[in-house]
């Protein structure tokens, strides 16, 4: 946003015109040459080539009996005379796409804007058949008109023709220039690395991004994490190009996307590792094994961002050196504590969108994992894919295959290999935005149900163990999916506690598990995750009746594989029927209980109620904490002057709801409830939030809850 910056930036150094030759597309050449002779037997026909950002989709009519096809590309001049050697740049075979009737191949790995001839031939068995007639076309120049301000910005990677990756300094200059020249973009610093590099995030909306994180959250944003492993920089370059497109493109699709949501792009969460070209951060910690633990400042910054901006969907970019995989291995959050709805919707995004669109555009999206029972893609909650799932965010891992493979040449780490990876990432992230745009109501429904499920503290706890990702029906696009990875018995807790209680030392004690043997306290990490905690006389209680119920035990239970502390399991105090009035002092946990009568909380008391029915009014005045999940209250619900957290999720209230003067610093949650009666909120120190999960209210909504 241009009013925010006055610093002079060396924008001229970022301009396309400085380095890049201007190549104009000569679309007159795009049509196939007329075939003067009838097709030979088994000759590929109907060859078409269509241009997109950094790749060309080659398509043809299948030849009966063909085992596979070779795609040949030759550099040509403006008169279509060859200037380079004809090269087979790819092999199409049936498992590349879910739809074999219309084969397509995304040819990438060339300098955008150059001109080529393409031909395709079938192989029957191993016997090569005649090549198709050639198609000549000029590939699409790097996005952005060199004569239009903003559009003409280019990254270091682009200006060096992929010989160099964009440096930290060039990233900061480029994103600052995008910010300065576009009203749609705000660059915010979400934290600093160990070496004090800024970690920036582009917040992109139309006509301007919403002003605050909460206002962004209200637009159900989507988030792309571009570069966690410092030596896997391909996705990051795509993110930087995509930021320019979102900032300066005026096409209807882009404006349509940005009018309806906010795009969050974190180009470099691991700036120190990127600068040093190491996988880990500067302490050697693999940050994608730290998103739950948040021992490092980089992961803590990302998790705080998730807490504040609440993206409903995400992608996490990587590269993958494995010559058995497809172009674009993907994987949903599989940890068994992830709500089924989030797993299902994530898999839907991968299989019913990415596989389908990949088959149209020629990219081989496929399951992550590999032949021979690979040990990757498992259930560590420390991995962002799983952390996001446990935070009820629909998401996927993305790998860009860096090696050669069965259907692409081995390019080493050359410029063309870098281009193939980056433009395949750009394709994926654009598809991700389209999926979010088209399926937002499904994503929100899945997220809402997941939050209600989790807040109800439903089901067993699994510390490690994955949901099975079934192989896609043949011709499935990968030979093998990820390993089954079911939980072992020692990783299961059937009888879930109601809460964990931490001692003062556990909660506020100094820790040594961060950089230079200094770690944030558990209290600070819990706050970064955004969990609700009740201060009680002898410690701190973290109830499971909250949206991140799947994640909490993994960090607070001694049975966890990588926990912070061994918190005390606190079990329910009432699970059966109680007739008559119930007065609560101290801590009460009602789980699957039925109370026939009113419930009153004494000052300083805490109530956690899940899967519980209360026939009568509930009145909490001056309580320490109030948690309702997946419950029913047949009568009015009054919560006033609570000096601690208030959360009411997935609960039916037959009567009015009144949330007033609750003074705990964080916003009360009031989400996914059904209220027959008025909903009134007033005087709470922070306005209640519905976490973008609407309540059904048969009555007026007033005060701080007027939009919930």
């Amino acid at each position: 946003m241009n009013h925010r910056r006055s610093t002079v930036i060396a924008i001229s150094a970022l301009l396309a015109a400085t380095f890049a030759p201007v190549v104009t597309s000569t679309s007159a050449f795009a049509a196939p040459l007329p075939a003067f002779a009838a097709a030979e037997p088994n000759q590929v026909t109907d060859l078409t080539v269509s241009q997109a950002d950094g790749f060309a989709t080659v398509a043809w009519t299948p030849v009966p009996g063909a085992a596979d096809y070779q795609i040949e590309r030759t550099a040509v001049d403006a008169a279509n005379a060859p200037t380079g050697t004809p090269t087979v740049v790819g092999v199409w075979r049936p498992n590349r796409q879910i739809n074999n009737e219309t084969p397509t191949f995304a040819d990438a790995g060339f300098n955008p804007g150059t001109r080529f001839q393409w031909r395709v031939r079938a192989r029957i068995g191993t016997a090569e058949q005649p090549y198709s007639s050639p198609v000549f076309d000029t590939t699409k120049a790097p996005w952005g008109d060199p004569a239009v301000a903003g559009q003409n910005l280019r990254t270091q990677w682009e200006t060096t023709q992929a010989a160099q990756y964009t440096s930290d300094a060039n990233e900061y200059a480029y994103t600052a220039a995008v910010d300065q020249l576009s009203e749609r973009v705000r660059v915010v610093e979400i934290g600093r690395t160990v070496q004090n590099r800024p970690i920036n995030m582009l917040v992109i909306g139309y006509p301007t991004p919403p002003a605050t994180p909460a206002a962004v959250a209200a637009t159900s944003p989507l988030a792309v994490n571009c570069n966690v492993h410092g030596n896997e920089p391909g996705d990051r370059e795509a993110c930087l190009i995509m930021a320019r497109q979102l900032a300066f493109s005026n096409d209807a699709r882009t404006l349509g996307l940005l009018k309806n949501t906010t795009v969050l792009i974190v180009p470099t969460i691991n700036g120190d590792g990127r600068a040093a070209n190491t996988r880990g951060n500067t302490t050697g910690q693999d940050l994608n094994r730290d998103y739950s633990l948040i021992r490092q400042p980089e992961t803590a910054a990302y998790v705080r961002m998730l807490r504040d901006y609440r993206p409903v969907a995400g992608y996490d970019g990587h590269e993958y050196g494995n010559n058995q995989a497809g172009d674009l291995p993907m994987l949903p959050p599989r940890h068994q504590n992830v709500a089924q709805q989030i797993f299902d919707e994530s898999l839907d995004m991968i299989e019913n969108h990415m596989y389908v669109e990949g088959a149209k555009d020629g990219w081989w999206a496929c399951p992550y994992g590999c032949a021979n029972g690979s040990g990757v893609g498992l259930s560590e909650e420390t991995i962002l894919r799983n952390t996001l799932g446990l935070k009820n965010t629909v998401n996927s891992l993305l790998e860009l295959r860096s090696s050669g493979g069965a259907t692409r040449p081995d390019e080493g780490n050359t410029a063309n290999n870098r281009r193939r990876k980056t433009f395949s990432a750009l394709w994926t992230f654009n598809q991700f935005m389209d999926y979010h745009h088209n399926q937002l109501s499904d994503i929100k429904k899945a997220r809402g149900e997941a939050i209600e499920f989790q807040a109800g503290n439903n089901g067993r706890i699994v510390f490690r163990g994955s949901r099975v990702v079934p192989l896609h029906p043949a011709p499935h696009p990968g030979e093998a999916g990820p390993r089954e990875d079911l939980p072992t018995p020692d990783m299961i807790l059937d009888n879930a506690p109601c809460a964990y209680k931490l001692t003062e030392a556990q909660y506020n004690g100094a820790r040594t598990d961060g950089p230079n043997d200094v770690g944030a306290t558990v209290a600070e990490r819990i706050a970064a995750h955004g969990w609700k905690v009740v201060k009680v006389a002898d410690g701190y209680v973290v109830p499971l009746a909250q949206p991140e119920r799947g994640l909490i035990p993994l960090l607070l239970d001694e049975q966890g594989e990588e926990e912070w502390v061994s918190g005390e399991r606190v079990y329910p105090t009432l699970t059966g029927r109680h007739n008559g009035p119930l007065t609560i002092s101290g801590f009460a946990c009602l789980s699957g209980a039925t109370v026939n009568g009113p419930v009153n909380l004494r000052p300083g008391a805490t109530l956690v109620a899940t899967n519980t029915t209360i026939s009568g009014p509930v009145n909490a005045a001056n309580a320490a904490g109030v948690f309702f999940g997946d419950s029913s209250v047949r009568g009015p619900l009054q919560v006033a002057n609570t000096n601690g957290p208030v959360t009411v999720i997935g609960t039916n209230v037959s009567g009015p709801v009144n949330l007033v003067n609750n003074t705990n610093g964080a916003a009360p949650y009031f989400a996914g409830n059904s209220v027959s009666g008025p909903l009134n909120c007033a005087g709470n120190s922070t306005a209640p939030t519905n976490l973008e999960v609407r309540n059904v209210v048969n009555g007026p909504r007033a005060g701080q809850c007027s939009t919930l």
Partner: protein, 199 residues
């Protein structure tokens, strides 16, 4: 702000190295099967443009040397190498590093075990300038770690030790030559394929 100042400087430096300029009259010829895939002609980072660059700058333009380049920076050996009258850098490609070391092992070397990293890198540097022809003519070279390595002809390339071959040879730099090779030299155990290097 420190970062923004840096940005201007960096971008300017980039422009100098990126432009294949008229000031560089001679064409530096490189040879080897991989050369065609590396910056060439008038592309940024072409061999002629690198001929007057220091070793650390030149390595930043040879796309298949990102691991070696990062390792050299991490080793803090650059001033020592720039101070030498002449050097030959036998630089293993990224693929060669990937075939040799696990990700964890590489991070360990680059972040925590810099003495070992320096030993590793010294096994890839000779303190005189040797062209491809010189390597093909020689019987052995002694690297900075004190090891004597056999060298010989291998088709049009040079064999270095038992396994490595030059794949793009004869990059000129300000004080010597860089040859891209396809295997890691030295006596380090192979750790590729071990440990958790998934996403």
């Amino acid at each position: 702000m420190r970062t923004r100042l840096l940005a201007v400087v960096m971008v300017a430096a980039l422009a100098v190295a990126g432009c294949t300029s008229d000031e560089e009259p001679s064409t530096a010829a490189v040879s080897g099967p991989l050369c065609g895939e590396l910056p060439k002609g008038d592309e940024p980072g072409n061999p002629t443009a690198l001929a007057s660059e220091s070793v650390d700058q030149a390595l930043q333009w040879i796309t298949v040397l990102t691991t070696f380049e990062g390792a050299l920076r991490a080793s803090e050996l650059v001033p020592e190498l720039e101070g030498k009258k002449a050097i030959t850098v036998l630089a293993p490609s990224d693929d060669a590093f990937m075939a040799k070391f696990s990700q964890d092992n590489l991070d360990e070397l680059m972040i925590k075990d810099k003495d070992a990293l320096r030993t590793l890198l010294r096994a890839h540097i000779v303190d005189r300038s040797l062209s491809l022809a010189d390597l093909r003519d020689a019987d052995s070279v002694t690297t900075l770690d004190g090891t004597t390595v056999k060298v010989s002809e291998a088709d049009k390339m040079a064999r270095i030790g038992d396994e490595a071959t030059t794949v793009c040879a004869d990059y000129r730099i300000a004080n010597g030559r860089v040859h891209v090779i396809n295997h890691v030299l030295g006596n380090f155990p192979t750790t590729a394929g071990q440990g958790d290097s998934g996403h």
